[in-house]
C-alpha cells in the first residue's frame, strides 16, 4: 500500500476574484514507505504550496490526498493540528526553533503537546541525541549554538514523534556547503533506518541525495528522475541538466 497517495491535486488562490492564481494545476504521484523523494523546481513553481498541503497547513481546492489512507482534505483545523503532531515531522529552512526554550525542550515540544509521559520522552530522546550528535548541546539554548547544530535539533524535534512522513522545506538553504553535506548525510542515515522523507529544494546538490526527484513547473509535475545505481556526482549532473532544460522551457 502507498504511504501517500496524491491524485489530480489542484490549488487555486483567490478563486472568487477576477485574477485567480492557480498555484497547482495537476499533481499526481504516490509515495511508498521508506522512500526518499526530492521535489525540485524554481521559485513560484508550486513546491511550497504542495508541501504545505501535504503538511495540512493548507487545503487543496480539488483532487485527492491520502496519507496512510486518511483523507487530509476532510480534516478540520483542530483535527489537522492533532494529525500533524502525531503523524508528521517538519524541518524548515530557518530551523524555526523557539528561542525561549532550551534545545531539549524544543525537541520535547511536539511530545508535550501530545501529552506523552515524561519517562517516555526521556527514553526516546537518548538514542536520537546520540545518532544526531547533539548530546553536548542539548541543554543549551538555540541562540547559543551554530546553524548546523540548530538544524540537528530541529531534525530531532521532527523525528522524536516517530512520524509516518518527514517533510523538509529547503533544509540546507541557510547553511554553508560543509554543514549542508553533514545534514544531508544525516538524512541518508535516517532514511536508511526506514524513515520516509519528502524534501523540497532547489539545490541540485541536496536533491542528489534523494532516491527519486520530482520536477515541478507551473503547477504540474514535469519530469521524474530515479537515482538508481548512479553515484552522487553522476546523479547530480543529471539533475542539473534536467533543471536547465526545465528553465529553458523545452525538453
Amino acid at each position: 500500500m502507498n504511504l501517500l497517495h496524491i491524485s489530480h491535486l489542484q490549488k487555486t488562490y483567490n478563486a472568487n476574484s477576477t485574477h485567480p492564481v492557480k498555484a497547482l494545476k495537476e499533481i499526481s504521484f504516490d509515495v511508498n514507505p521508506g522512500e526518499y523523494i526530492a521535489i525540485m523546481g524554481e521559485s513560484g513553481a508550486g513546491k511550497s504550496t504542495l508541501l504545505n498541503i501535504i503538511a495540512t497547513l493548507e487545503k487543496a481546492s480539488a483532487g485527492e490526498i491520502l496519507l496512510n489512507g486518511q483523507d487530509l482534505s476532510s480534516l478540520t483545523a483542530d483535527q489537522a493540528a492533532k494529525y500533524r503532531r502525531e503523524h508528521l515531522g517538519f524541518i524548515f529552512q530557518h530551523f524555526n526553533l523557539l528561542n525561549s526554550l532550551s534545545n531539549r525542550d524544543n525537541i520535547y515540544l511536539p511530545l508535550v503537546l501530545a501529552k506523552v509521559p515524561v519517562a517516555e520522552m526521556e527514553k526516546r530522546i537518548q538514542p536520537l541525541a546520540a545518532s544526531l550528535g547533539i548530546e553536548q548541546i542539548i541543554d543549551r539554548y538555540p541562540t547559543e549554538v551554530s546553524g548546523g547544530q540548530q538544524q540537528r535539533i530541529a531534525i530531532a524535534r521532527a523525528l522524536i514523534t516517530q512520524p509516518d512522513l518527514l517533510l523538509a522545506d529547503e533544509p540546507t538553504g541557510a547553511l554553508d556547503s560543509n554543514t549542508s553535506n553533514e545534514i544531508l548525510d544525516l538524512f541518508d542515515r535516517v532514511n536508511a533506518n526506514g524513515q520516509t522523507i519528502i524534501m523540497v529544494t532547489h539545490s541540485a546538490a541536496a536533491a542528489s541525495y534523494a532516491k527519486r526527484t520530482l520536477f515541478i513547473k507551473d503547477g504540474r509535475i514535469y519530469h521524474e528522475l530515479f537515482r538508481g545505481d548512479d553515484s552522487l556526482k553522476q546523479y547530480q549532473e543529471e539533475i542539473s541538466k534536467t533543471m536547465m532544460t526545465l528553465t529553458n522551457g523545452g525538453e
Binding site: D78, N96, V118
Partner: protein, 640 residues
C-alpha cells in the same frame, strides 16, 4: 516636500502606535496646563488656606511633570523600535545620516505640535471644569478663573518643547551610534543564564518586601510614623523591582525543574512563555505594579481624608465655638462675647462651661499610663494622651446620675482605648468602657487622640482647664460666619490653641484636604493614563515577539483553539500580576495609612475600608477595560 511626505506616510502606517501615543501626550499636556493654570489663579491665593493650597499645587505639579518626563522617555523607546527598521531601509536606499536626522526632527516636531494643540484645547476646556471642581472641594464659592490663562499657556508650551527636544536628542544620539545594517537587522533575544548570585538577589527582594510590610503593619501612631512609612515605601520599591525582575525568573526556573508539572501542554507553553516575558518585561511589570500601587494609595488617602473631614472637625470643635482657658471666663469677657454676637446678629445657644484636667501626654506601658506632662513635653515615645474628668462634672454636663467607687472609672476613647485595670498617675482604677460621650473632643488638636477617664476625684495638684462652649445661630454666608468667629477671637485676645471655632476650622481643613483630593485625583489620572499606555505598548511589542512563536507552535501541532487559549492565559497572567501586587501593597499599606490618618484625627475605620474597597474595585474595572481593549490589538498581531 519628500521628508514631510515620508513622515506622514510613516504616521499613517504606524497609527496603531502613534494614535495611543498622541492621545496620551495630549492628555498629559492638558493636565500639566490645568495644574499650571490653577496654580496661577489669583483669587485662590487670597484665601486663608491659599498658601497651603498653592504649595500643594506646586508639589503636585512637580510630581506630574516628573511622571511626564519619565513617560515620554520610556515610551519613546517603543516608538524608536517601530521606526528603527524604517530608518534602516531609508539609509540603505541612500539617505545620508543628515537626512535621517532631519526626518527625526520633523517627526518630533509633528508630535509636539499635535499634542500641544490637542492638549491645550482640551486643557482650556477642562481647566474651567477642574477649577469649579476644586472650588466645590474647597467648599468656597467666591473664587473665579478666566477662560484662558496666558502665563500657564506659555509655560506649558515652553516645558513641553523642552521635553520633546530632550527625546529628540536621545533619538539623534541613538541614530548617530548605529550603522545602517544595525538599524535594519532585528535584534535577537538571548535567553540569559543566571548564577547563584541571581537567586540570592531574588531572595533579597523577597526579604525587602517582607521587611517593608513588617514596618507598615507595626507602625505606631507616633511622630515618626510618616518617616517610617516613607522608608517602607523605599524598601517596597526596591523589593518590588527585585522580586519582579529576578524573583519571578527564579520561581519559573524552579517550576521548569519540576518535570511532571512542566511537561504538560498548558504549563509548558505558559511557563516558558512567562519566563521569556519576565526576562524582558520584569522591570516594566514592576513599574506598572508600583504605578497601580501609587494610584491606589494616593486616591485612598486623599478620598478618606476628605470624606473624614466631618469627624475631624467634630473632634476639634464639638460645638460651634469652644474656648479652653485656665479660669472660667470673666464677666467682662462674657460681655464681650455677647456684644460681638449682637453686632453680628448672632444668637447664642447651648452654652456650657465645665472644668476638666488638662490633657496629659505620655505612653502606655501595659496598663500603666506613663505621664510625660503637657503637649510641650512630647517626645518620640509619646503615643497617647489622657484627660481626667470628675464624676460630678460628668453628671452635670451629660445630665446623668452616675455613682462610682473611688477605684472605679468610666473610660471613653474613639481610637483603641485602655479599659479594665488601668493605672493613671499612680492610682489604679477598674475602668468601664463608655460607648458614647457626646462632648468628646481633642482640645489641643494634637495628633494623639485623648482618652477620657471619669473618676471621683482628680489627684492633688492636677492642672485643670475650663471649657466654655456654645453654638450660635446667625443668618448669613460662610464668609460672614468666619468673620464673626475671627472677630470674637480677636476681642477675647486668645491664641489658636485656646479658641476653636467650627466654621473657621472646617473651612481651613476643607481648604487643605480639598486641595489634597484635587491633586490626588489629577495625579491618579496622570498615573492611570501613563499606566494604560505602558500596558498598551507592552502588549504590542509582546504581540510581535509572540507572533513568531505561535506560528512555530502551530506548525508543530498546536491547534488554533489551544493557541488562543494559551495567549489568553498568558496575557491575563502578565496583566493581573501587577494589579494583584498593587492590591496586596494597599492591603499592607492600610494599617500604616490608618495610623497616619489617626494623627490627622480621623478614626473612622468602616469609612476607610469602604473607600479602600471602592478605590480598588474601580481600578480593577478600569484595568480590565484596558486589558480587553489591548488584548484585541495583541490577538490581531499574533493571529496575522
Amino acid at each position: 516636500m519628500l521628508f514631510t511626505k515620508l513622515v506622514n506616510s510613516s504616521f499613517k502606517r504606524n497609527l496603531r502606535v502613534y494614535g495611543p501615543y498622541l492621545v496620551a501626550t495630549t492628555m498629559l499636556v492638558a493636565i500639566n496646563y490645568i495644574f499650571l493654570a490653577v496654580r496661577a489663579n489669583e483669587s485662590l491665593k487670597k484665601l486663608n488656606t491659599g498658601a497651603a493650597t498653592s504649595a500643594l499645587l506646586s508639589l503636585g505639579f512637580r510630581f506630574i511633570f516628573l511622571v511626564t518626563i519619565a513617560f515620554l522617555i520610556y515610551v519613546n523607546r517603543f516608538l524608536w523600535q517601530e521606526r528603527r527598521q524604517e530608518m534602516g531601509l531609508y539609509s540603505m536606499l541612500g539617505m545620508t545620516s543628515r537626512n535621517l536626522q532631519w526626518l527625526t526632527v520633523i517627526e518630533k516636531a509633528y508630535l509636539l505640535v499635535c499634542s500641544l494643540v490637542g492638549g491645550l484645547i482640551i486643557g482650556v476646556i477642562f481647566e474651567k471644569l477642574a477649577f469649579l471642581g476644586l472650588g466645590y472641594l474647597l467648599k468656597i464659592d467666591h473664587v473665579s478663573q478666566s477662560w484662558l490663562v496666558p502665563s500657564a499657556l506659555g509655560e506649558t508650551v515652553l516645558l513641553m518643547s523642552l521635553l520633546f527636544c530632550l527625546i529628540m536628542v536621545i533619538d539623534l544620539v541613538k541614530l548617530h551610534r548605529m550603522t545602517p545594517s544595525q538599524l535594519w537587522r532585528p535584534q535577537t533575544v538571548k535567553v540569559k543564564r543566571h548564577g547563584k548570585l541571581y537567586s540570592f538577589a531574588g531572595l533579597v527582594g523577597l526579604g525587602l518586601l517582607i521587611w517593608a510590610y513588617y514596618i507598615t503593619v507595626t507602625i505606631k501612631p507616633r511622630i515618626s510614623a510618616i518617616a517610617h512609612f516613607f522608608s517602607a515605601v523605599l524598601l517596597l520599591t526596591v523589593g518590588t523591582y527585585l522580586l519582579f525582575i529576578i524573583g519571578s525568573i527564579v520561581f519559573l526556573q524552579f517550576l521548569q525543574k519540576q518535570k511532571h508539572y512542566y511537561y504538560q501542554p498548558r504549563h509548558f507553553i505558559a511557563i516558558s512563555g512567562m519566563r521569556q516575558r519576565m526576562e524582558q518585561n520584569g522591570a516594566s511589570l514592576a513599574t506598572i505594579c508600583l504605578l497601580c500601587s501609587s494610584i491606589l494609595v494616593i486616591l485612598f488617602t486623599s478620598v478618606t481624608l476628605y470624606a473624614g473631614i466631618g469627624s475631624t472637625v467634630k473632634s476639634y470643635a464639638p460645638q460651634n465655638v469652644v474656648i479652653n482657658s485656665q479660669r472660667p471666663l470673666t464677666a467682662q469677657q462674657k460681655a464681650l462675647v455677647n456684644d460681638t454676637a449682637k453686632r453680628h446678629h448672632a444668637t447664642l445657644t447651648h452654652q456650657l462651661t465645665y472644668t476638666m484636667a488638662a490633657p496629659r501626654y505620655g505612653y502606655w506601658k501595659d496598663d500603666r499610663f506613663i505621664n510625660q506632662g503637657d503637649i510641650l513635653h512630647m517626645d518620640k515615645q509619646t503615643s497617647s494622651s489622657v484627660i481626667l474628668l470628675t464624676t460630678k462634672e460628668y453628671n452635670r454636663i451629660t445630665k446623668q446620675h452616675v455613682k462610682l467607687a473611688d477605684n472605679q472609672a468610666l473610660a471613653y476613647a474613639n481610637n483603641k482605648g485602655h479599659y479594665g485595670k488601668v493605672t493613671i498617675n499612680g492610682h489604679t482604677y477598674q475602668a468601664k468602657r463608655l460607648n458614647h460621650y457626646s462632648l468628646y473632643f481633642n482640645p489641643d488638636h494634637s495628633i494623639y487622640t485623648p482618652s477620657f477617664y471619669v473618676i471621683n476625684q482628680l489627684p492633688k495638684g492636677t492642672p485643670t482647664t475650663t471649657v466654655t462652649s456654645f453654638d450660635y445661630r446667625m443668618k448669613g454666608t460662610q464668609k460672614q460666619r468666619i468673620k464673626f468667629e475671627g472677630e470674637l477671637q480677636a476681642e477675647l485676645n486668645m491664641k489658636n490653641g485656646q479658641f476653636t471655632a467650627k466654621e473657621t476650622i472646617s473651612s481651613l481643613i476643607n481648604g487643605l484636604y480639598g486641595g489634597l483630593v484635587f491633586i490626588g485625583i489629577l495625579i491618579s489620572l496622570v498615573l492611570a493614563i501613563t499606566t494604560t499606555i505602558v500596558i498598551y505598548f507592552k502588549q504590542i511589542s509582546e504581540g510581535m515577539a509572540d507572533a513568531e512563536r505561535f506560528a512555530t507552535m502551530q506548525q508543530v501541532g498546536l491547534s488554533e483553539k489551544e493557541t488562543v487559549k494559551s495567549i489568553h492565559s498568558q496575557v491575563l497572567m502578565v496583566f493581573l500580576l501587577p494589579l494583584v501586587g498593587a492590591v496586596i501593597n494597599l492591603g499592607f499599606a492600610f494599617p500604616a495609612i490608618r495610623q497616619i490618618m489617626i494623627q490627622l484625627s480621623l478614626y473612622n475605620l468602616p469609612l476607610m475600608i469602604t473607600v479602600g474597597v471602592i478605590v480598588s474595585i474601580s481600578l480593577l474595572i478600569l484595568y480590565l477595560v484596558i486589558y480587553g481593549l489591548t488584548t484585541r490589538v495583541y490577538r490581531h498581531i499574533v493571529e496575522q
